[in-house]
């Protein structure tokens, strides 16, 4: 009876392991399709298709937001701190949209290398804090979103890409 149970245990665990490997390989094969958006680096490298609806994501570059005072037209630059992507949009922006904020824009790449957005979504990070703390941080010279850590993260990702491309 003991031996039978042991066998059952191994069969069950083996089954689950096989299923896990199958799912893992599938996800690995689909990895580029599961990413929600292209980063500006990928777009500059030409990985994103032209004249088809795509999503691009990154941070809104500081000082890049230009609004047309007579209409809802707005232009801004999405950056991953390595490459920039120019975005033009006409419509209402989400409440969290601001310079230095992460965004995902949905739209078509235009031949001039800019993107005409149909929808702008705001991303927010996992750092929540009361307004006073945010203000105190800012006065102390830190930025609440901690851009440097993010830039370092993007840099690491690029290094990993370069390493895997070099192989």
């Amino acid at each position: 009876m003991r031996a039978k149970r042991k066998q059952k245990l191994f069969v069950t665990l083996g089954l689950v392991a096989l299923a896990a490997i199958a799912v893992g390989l599938t996800l690995y094969a689909l990895r580029s399709n599961i990413n929600l958006f292209f980063s500006p680096v990928q777009i500059v490298e030409g990985e994103a298709p032209m004249e088809r609806q795509i999503r691009a994501g990154g941070m809104v570059k500081e000082g890049s937001v230009a609004r047309n005072p007579d209409s809802l037209d707005v232009g801004f630059t999405v950056t991953d701190y390595v490459e920039d992507l120019e975005v033009r949009y006409s419509g209402i922006l989400p409440d969290l949209f601001r310079e230095g904020q992460g965004v995902v824009v949905v739209g078509e790449l235009q031949p001039g290398g800019w993107l005409r957005a149909d929808q702008v979504l705001a991303k927010h990070d996992e750092n929540y804090m009361p307004p006073e703390v945010a203000q105190a941080l800012e006065e102390a010279g830190y930025s609440p979103e901690d851009y440097q850590a993010k830039a370092a993260e993007v840099g690491k990702r690029l290094e990993a890409r370069a390493a895997s491309a070099g192989q």
Partner: protein, 247 residues
């Protein structure tokens, strides 16, 4: 050790011990959720960017935690049932599935309500949201499988296998925000690192999470007790118990 586990697997013993545990779990759940929600909703500070809509976190995160934990528990119970044939494990697994499905729905719904004011959309096919939706379908599948067989034993086996295989989805949910670019932000709350929010925001969240877990334990104990009586209704100890209660 083995004697204890075998004792734990006996419905009669479980029925007796759970009667003593149950009130404590209910009490802890009610107290923690009450204190946590009043603290979180009324006294915790608002977020510097999102204002008060940030408070949805006090429902969203505990529900999402529970949705995943219940599925893992169900899979472990399924394995215990398949390998050691302990019927009590199967009863518990059957009883926790609807609560898990409900919690998954609460997490998805509160996430949608939160997504509208912050992201600007209530749904996006990003990896985290999609894998959570798959978890919801897995729960529905487990519940449906139990109802689809005439024989209880085959139904239990099928549901256990689906739960064990479906548990692969759990690490995918957890790491989706790290493996892929998503709209959903990375985890706020983890056991291994400092939480990404100050203590006055984080403590009520901790209370809510603990409260939700106590609620899950209490509901599972309660439902498993009635399931024991239902399935073992022809056993002598249940009849004796019923005769005692009747007089």
């Amino acid at each position: 050790m083995w004697a204890f586990i075998h004792k734990l697997g006996s419905p009669k013993w479980f029925y007796a011990i759970s009667a003593r545990l149950q009130p404590w779990c209910w009490g802890a759940a009610v107290a923690l959720i009450l204190v946590g929600s009043v603290w979180g909703l009324a006294f915790a500070p608002a977020d510097y960017q999102q204002g008060n809509s940030f408070r949805i976190i006090y429902v969203h995160v505990p529900a999402a935690f529970l949705a995943q934990s219940i599925f893992v528990t169900m899979a472990v119970a399924g394995m215990i049932f398949m390998v050691w044939r302990i019927k009590l494990a199967d009863m518990a697994a059957a009883m926790m599935a609807p609560l898990g499905a409900g919690m998954t729905f609460v997490a998805l719904f509160s996430g949608a309500v939160w997504g509208m004011p912050t992201w600007g959309t209530w749904w996006m096919w990003d990896a985290r949201l999609t894998s959570m939706l798959i978890l919801f379908f897995l729960y529905i599948g487990v519940i449906a499988l139990r109802g689809a067989f005439a024989s209880r034993d085959s139904a239990s086996r099928a549901a256990s296998v689906l739960a064990m295989v479906g548990v692969i989805n759990i690490p995918i949910i957890k790491y989706s925000v790290e493996w892929w670019y998503t709209l959903h932000q990375p985890a706020t709350f983890s056991i291994t690192s400092r939480p990404a929010m100050p203590t006055e925001m984080w403590l009520p969240l901790l209370l809510m999470v603990l409260g939700f877990y106590c609620f899950f334990i209490a509901v599972t104990l309660m439902r498993t007790r009635s399931e024991i009586l239902r399935r073992e209704s022809s056993k002598r100890w249940v009849r004796e118990l019923a005769a005692e209660e009747g007089t």
